[in-house]
């Protein structure tokens, strides 16, 4: 895809370096990466995510200089950072809000991939690496939320590590092994801190593979057909570096709105209370980005079945490239499946809503007594899985797709791209 190198060293020093370590050549070729000319703003989220990842690592490294992973000191050390450390009042909310922004951007990025069929051949591995990044991100986000050692940190960690206890036979010993004891305590906090520092670098490595893969197979695009001629593409730099930079600027404004004016809006008040193993909060809710999965977990009465369903909800993403049997990539040309996809997104929001509320509260006041959140989450969970099996494979076989343009350039010139 990348084609032959276009780099020509101009100066003697450059030539000298190029013979020994062609690092400049690598950078130039990397940035000249031919990209479809019809990428829209939904394609800017890859760049946005890279920026947030770097920001999270930088703020995180600074926070680790001041944070103390000890059950007696962790909560107070976070307060010290917010109150006494120079610019700690800025760095700490940036990191906490940054986690939410990371998930917001990754969800948009994933939905974009699903809408335009970016997981289809030859991009299956690119998609799977992306799913792995998402999985490691979830682990990192969960571990990080434990570190401030507030009430929600502690009880969230207790509930989530409890999932492993539901596994038959080995569950209990596995849970104890993860916690470093019988319950969430100092060994848990210390290992969570260690792993929270480690996993972002695993993400960096996976992102490296993700970018390598996308450079090898090329980017998908909104009409989902491969570039055929040179005309169909533009060099990544300066065309998409500038477009992404603008999108990053807009995203940073949303980010700044939360950091400076609403630093607590995405958190839970209970996490301003020190962890107390003897006092269970009236409600244990995960961070907003886990709410849909939390709703799936609680949709069934059996704990083990709930855990299996929850993990399946993520696992099914890994096999998505083989579940979608359609030849056409982009939903733009799939008039019926497109609606199934929109309902899928809607079901995701419904699940998030259910995850935030008590299962037995009334969600929709219809019929006798109304529908509880438990039943609403059951319906949404059913649809979540139904979208992957059987809707996607069946629609791939039976749907009559709209005619796909011959080339990207033709589509661009006729205004269809």
């Amino acid at each position: 895809m990348s084609g032959p190198s276009t780099y020509e060293p101009k100066y003697a020093a450059e030539r000298w370096l190029d013979k020994r370590l062609p690092i400049v050549r690598f950078g130039v070729d990397f940035m000249a990466f031919p990209s479809p000319r019809n990428l829209n703003y939904w394609y800017a989220f890859g760049g946005i995510l890279t920026m947030i990842l770097m920001l999270q690592i930088i703020t995180g490294v600074v926070l680790a200089m001041h944070y103390t992973p000890d059950v007696n000191l962790a909560f107070d050390s976070v307060q010290r950072i917010r109150r006494d450390v120079q610019f700690g009042w800025l760095i700490q909310p940036m990191h906490a809000v940054g986690a939410s922004m990371f998930f917001l951007a990754v969800y948009v990025h994933m939905f974009r991939g699903m809408y335009y069929g970016s997981y289809k051949t030859p991009r299956e591995l690119l998609w799977i690496i992306g799913c792995m990044i998402y999985l490691v991100m979830m682990a990192t986000g969960f571990l990080g939320y434990t570190l401030p050692w507030g009430q929600m940190s502690f009880w969230g960690a207790t509930v989530i590590t409890g999932f492993f206890g539901a596994i038959p036979v080995v569950g209990e010993s596995l849970q104890q092994w993860l916690l470093g004891g019988y319950s969430v305590d100092n060994p848990t906090l210390q290992r969570f801190f260690s792993l929270h520092y480690l996993l972002p670098f695993v993400i960096v490595a996976l992102v490296g593979l993700h970018i390598w893969a996308v450079h090898h197979v090329g980017q998908n695009n909104p009409i989902g057909i491969e570039p055929k001629t040179k005309e169909d593409t533009l060099p990544f730099h300066p065309f998409y570096t500038m477009k992404d930079a603008f999108a990053i600027g807009v995203f940073m404004m949303i980010f700044a709105l939360f950091v400076f004016y609403l630093p607590d809006a995405l958190g839970h008040a209970d996490n301003y209370q020190k962890a107390d193993p003897l006092k269970t909060p009236p409600e244990i809710v995960p961070e907003w980005y886990f709410l849909p999965f939390y709703a799936i977990l609680r949709a069934v009465p059996d704990k083990l079945l709930g855990v299996i369903l929850m993990f399946s909800a993520i696992a099914v993403l890994f096999v998505l490239p083989w579940l979608d049997t359609a030849k056409v990539r982009s939903m733009r040309f799939r008039p019926v499946t497109r609606w199934f996809f929109i309902i899928f997104i809607f079901a995701g929001f419904i699940l998030g809503w259910c995850g935030a509320r008590a299962p037995d509260d009334i969600a929709i006041p219809i019929g006798e007594g109304g529908m509880t959140f438990k039943w609403l989450s059951r319906i949404a969970t059913f649809y979540y899985f139904a979208y992957f099996i059987p809707i996607l494979p069946i629609m791939g076989w039976i749907e009559k797709t709209k005619p796909v343009p011959d080339s990207i350039t033709k589509a661009v010139l006729s205004g269809d791209a």
Binding site: R37, N38, Y41, D76, Q79, R82, R83, W89, L90, P93, S100, L104, V108, L234, P238, F239, M242, K243, A245, F246, A247, G249, V250, F251, M252, M253, I254, A256, L257, F258, V259, F260, Y261, L262, P263, D264, A265, L266, H268, A269, D270, Y272, Q273, K274, P282, E283, V285, W288, L291, G352, W353, A356, R357, A358, V412, L413, A417
Partner: protein, 272 residues
């Protein structure tokens, strides 16, 4: 060109809005009456704390609350930091602030004698933290009928209702229990407290403290002043954060506009 820019901003606004919605969903309703919204000077994008009110609030804390409630996250010198209730520009080092020095001296601090190593108590200095009231949590519960008085330095961020909730609880919450409601032993009826039974007896009464100057010390006034002080105690960097935020926004807006213009210039001859 500007149309594109506004379109992108509109998308950004929608994304932000949906985040608000999800944030709203995450905070489920707490049991207990919903407190009325009050007008606080520290709310809003340009909000600041009311310094005289904070100073009166500190007096209420000192004379009423401090016998049972700690300010775990505060040291005396914090009271004299920039933006704090007793900041004095003549004393950029908060440890030199005479008002705060006098406050600190008022407290007995446990220490070790530097010659003999014996445990002693000495008058506080600004560098000291607000001292513990109870030797441990069990003792705190034992002398308070089983309920541990919560730390007040984070009481406002740590309660879903925030400032409105605390104000309502203190100023209007203590009323006679409705007929048929059985108030448990050692608890008091409060409209706004979750479950309506609070271990703390009504703490504020008309004239409970004497304000040297300023308004009359009504229950309502004292509650407002105390909430102002505790709001600061929970988020002391709020003013500098919001001020910096304004500059950050101005920068981001101009920078993003320039990026947009560069982007349009680069793409000028490319149909897409």
């Amino acid at each position: 060109m500007l149309k594109m820019f506004t379109k992108t901003l509109a998308i950004a606004a929608v994304v932000t809005f949906s985040l608000f919605i999800s944030a709203g969903l995450a905070s489920a309703a707490a049991p207990g009456a919903k407190p009325d919204k009050q007008k606080w000077g520290f709310k809003g994008p340009r909000g600041t704390y009311d310094r005289p009110a904070m100073q009166r609030g500190y007096q209420v804390y000192r004379e009423v609350c401090a016998s049972c409630h700690m300010l775990e996250q505060l040291s005396f010198h914090h009271l004299a930091d920039k933006g704090a209730p007793f900041y004095d520009e003549n004393f950029p080092n908060p440890n030199d602030n005479p008002v705060v020095k006098a406050f600190a001296k008022d407290w007995e601090i446990e220490d070790i004698d530097q010659d003999s190593g014996d445990p002693i108590t000495r008058p506080g200095v600004p560098a000291d933290g607000f001292p513990d009231i109870y030797p441990n949590a069990i003792a705190a519960a034992a002398v308070n009928g089983g309920a541990i008085p919560p730390d007040l330095s984070l009481i406002i961020p740590a309660r879903g209702g925030g400032a409105d909730y605390l104000y309502a609880l203190l100023a209007n919450g203590y009323v006679d229990a409705p007929a048929g409601f059985k108030v448990g032993e050692g608890t008091n009826y409060n409209t706004y407290f979750p479950g309506n039974q609070i271990a703390m007896a009504q703490p504020l009464f008309e004239g409970g403290v004497e304000y040297k100057d300023g308004p009359e010390a009504t229950v309502d006034q004292m509650s407002k002043d105390l909430v102002e002080f505790l709001a600061w105690a929970g988020d002391p960097k709020m003013e500098v954060r919001k001020k910096t935020g304004f500059g950050a926004f101005l920068f981001l807006f101009i920078f993003t506009l320039l990026l947009f213009m560069t982007y349009k210039e680069v793409w000028r001859n490319v149909k897409h």
